[in-house]
């Protein structure tokens, strides 16, 4: 399509613009996290690390971070385990109501968070479990398990169907085949799923805000600052969280591709 090279140029330029739109707010929050102005406005004032020092010295930030780490670690383990079990069931078994079963598993991400938040809040209050850290963990697991399921299911698709049966044929029990064939095979996907579900949980604020009570996570703390004192600390926190998440995602990516290339050799 040589005749349309002019059009291609325009399309490419347009795409770059669109990326600029997507990244503008991220870039601005990084820039303003180093800007001394108490209320971020143009033009910039002087360079400062003040906001980073503020959050470093703030025990509430540390506690929120501790809560966030606990919540996303537990969510990650639970959601990955549930997601794997479900993916395996879908991969291996056919049964009645299977589509209902899959719908049950895959629906949560399509329900608006604010509705989930209200429903969870009411339900947890009803069963006397609101305001605890593990209420957030439970809610986040519901939300994240479908992602873990999807990733693991894709990996299982790549598995030779005969692999498992061969193991049985060699005398391994179903349990042993699971332990020594299926799980090792899925390991890269499980690790990816663990990272992804952790990230989903780490950034979720609507449900966490509704059910957390006094146990704030980092995004809830950010929400409180935005609703409250609205100061550039949020940019500093946001930038740090961004760095951590990106490191995790890149690490997962590198790990995954290394594994892939190793196992394909």
């Amino acid at each position: 399509m040589r005749s349309s090279s002019f059009l291609s140029g325009i399309l490419r330029g347009y795409t770059v613009l669109m990326f600029a739109f997507v990244f503008a707010p991220i870039a601005f929050s990084v820039i303003f996290s180093f800007n001394s102005a108490r209320f971020p406005t143009i033009p910039l004032e002087s360079f400062t690390l003040h906001w980073y020092q503020t959050i470093w010295a703030d025990p509430d930030v540390w506690e929120a971070l501790r809560n966030s780490v606990i919540v996303s670690l537990c969510t990650s383990v639970l959601a990955t385990a549930l997601g794997f079990a479900t993916a395996y069931t879908d991969y291996r078994y056919n049964f009645r109501f299977k589509s209902a079963y899959l719908a049950l598993v895959l629906l949560p991400p399509t329900i608006p968070l604010i509705i989930m938040a209200l429903a969870m809040l009411a339900w947890f209050s009803k069963i006397g479990a609101s305001g605890e850290l593990w209420s957030i963990i439970i809610a986040h697991t519901v939300l994240a398990a479908p992602f873990a399921m999807a990733i693991t299911r894709l990996r299982l698709n790549q598995m030779d169907k005969d692999l498992e049966s061969a193991a049985w044929n060699l005398g391994a029990s179903e349990w042993r085949a699971m332990r020594e064939v299926i799980i090792p095979f899925c390991k890269p996907a499980l690790i990816s799923a663990a990272f992804l579900t952790a990230a989903v949980s780490f950034d979720e604020f609507a449900i966490a805000w509704f059910v957390s009570g006094l146990n704030k996570t980092v995004p809830v703390l950010i929400l409180e600052i935005v609703q409250g004192n609205i100061d550039p600390q949020v940019n500093a926190i946001g930038t740090l969280v961004f760095m951590v998440s990106i490191t995790l995602v890149v690490a997962a990516q590198v790990f995954f591709s290394l594994r892939q290339s190793k196992s394909s050799t």
Partner: protein
């Protein structure tokens, strides 16, 4: 039978188990380490649990405040209602909601002898409405602030700001913001209608008129904001005037050099009053009492007046004297100097200030409902 491949993978799996096991074990350990200090759960408006207020006290007394922030009295009541009794040890509430807290049985009786009632700047503060019941104390007044016309000096003159009428100024179309809570905003509309002291005690006819007046302001309105949004939109000039607030927000911006101010217009202003109560069933009542005493001391009162999130005036004479001594600039700015025309105590004495209250002849729900309707108008 062995599978070589899995043998290679096994150690890694064990390691993962080991790491996650360690993480699971260390989680409670970490919280135990934190639990060595006494944790005090606080329910308050934003800022009351921040380091500039409680930091010094926490360090000196080996306690740690865990704040939960709310906006608006109904929000506060809802939060208490949805948590198990005893969840909140210390409740900072608006003065007008103490009565409701008490009626619902959410707060403990307090011992009046623990607090400096002989040192109050105004006699009203000694027996503040709703804080006492059958001669028993249920809440300790901490601070107050006055709400009036808040405006940007670049587009509203001091003369214009002397009446709520300025909100209807044609040049301000789309530039008038609302603090997103019905009580102060509707209270101001009530004052504008001339209801003066009975601003929250309006009969059916006055309530209808109040709604009409409010709705007529709607075309001027540029947005409804929470605390943070109010702040930002005044600071960056999005909003040139703000209804429902006062020095508690413009004061912070003024300190930062923004050309904004708040005045009490001729129709009168509203006082918000913030008071401490002890949550029913709290196991830390003694610790909480100690903290309230600290906040009522001269040092505590100064901290409250200087609070980073938003200022409030001192209610004790000792507090005011100390503020004038350590921070004369803030004392002058906020009028907490005898003879200053903005002296909040003088304003009360002149009868220009009305304590914020809950609606007397309608239910809170009616006001709330109308507020939703107004926002959608």
């Amino acid at each position: 039978m062995t599978f070589k491949a899995t043998d290679i993978l096994k150690p890694t799996r064990r390691e993962i188990l080991k790491i996650s096991g360690a993480a699971a074990l260390s989680a409670p350990f970490v919280s135990r380490a934190w639990a060595q200090v006494t944790e005090i759960n606080m329910l308050a408006w934003y800022g009351h649990g921040e380091a500039d207020i409680v930091g010094e006290y926490e360090a000196a007394n080996n306690v740690k405040f865990k704040p939960k922030y709310y906006a608006g009295g109904d929000n506060m009541l809802a939060l208490i209602a949805q948590s198990p009794p005893g969840t909140y040890d210390l409740i900072l509430s608006d003065g007008e909601f103490v009565q409701q807290l008490n009626a619902a049985g959410y707060i403990e009786e307090m011992n009046a002898a623990d607090y400096p009632f002989d040192d109050m700047l105004h006699s009203d503060f000694e027996k503040f409405p709703g804080h006492w019941k059958d001669d028993k104390l249920y809440s300790m007044i901490l601070r107050g602030g006055h709400l009036g016309v808040s405006y940007n000096k670049n587009s509203v003159s001091a003369e214009e700001a002397a009446s709520y009428k300025c909100f209807w100024k044609p040049e301000l179309k789309g530039k008038v913001g609302h603090f997103d809570w019905h009580l102060p905003s509707l209270g101001m509309m009530s004052l504008y209608n001339g209801n003066a002291a009975s601003l929250f005690d309006v009969d059916e006819a006055a309530w209808t008129k109040l709604k009409e007046t409010t709705l007529s302001l709607r075309p001027q309105v540029g947005g409804f904001f929470d605390y943070g949004g109010t702040f930002n939109s005044l600071k960056n000039g999005e909003m040139q005037a703000m209804c429902g607030i006062g020095d508690w927000i413009t004061g912070v911006l003024e300190r930062d050099g923004a050309p904004v101010a708040s005045v009490i217009p001729k129709e009168g202003g509203i006082q918000f009053t913030e008071s401490y109560s002890i949550g029913k069933g709290s196991e830390k009542a003694d610790e909480v009492t100690k903290f309230i005493q600290y906040m009522m001391s001269a040092d505590g009162q100064v901290k409250s007046a200087q609070m980073k999130a938003y200022p409030g005036f001192c209610v004790t004479k000792a507090g005011r004297a100390k503020l004038q001594e350590v921070d004369p600039k803030e004392a002058a700015r906020s009028g907490q100097v005898e003879g200053n025309s903005n002296d909040p105590i003088a304003l009360i004495n002149e009868g220009r200030i009305h304590y914020r209250d809950i609606p007397k002849q309608q239910s809170l729900e009616d006001w709330n409902d109308f507020w939703s309707e107004y926002k959608n108008a």
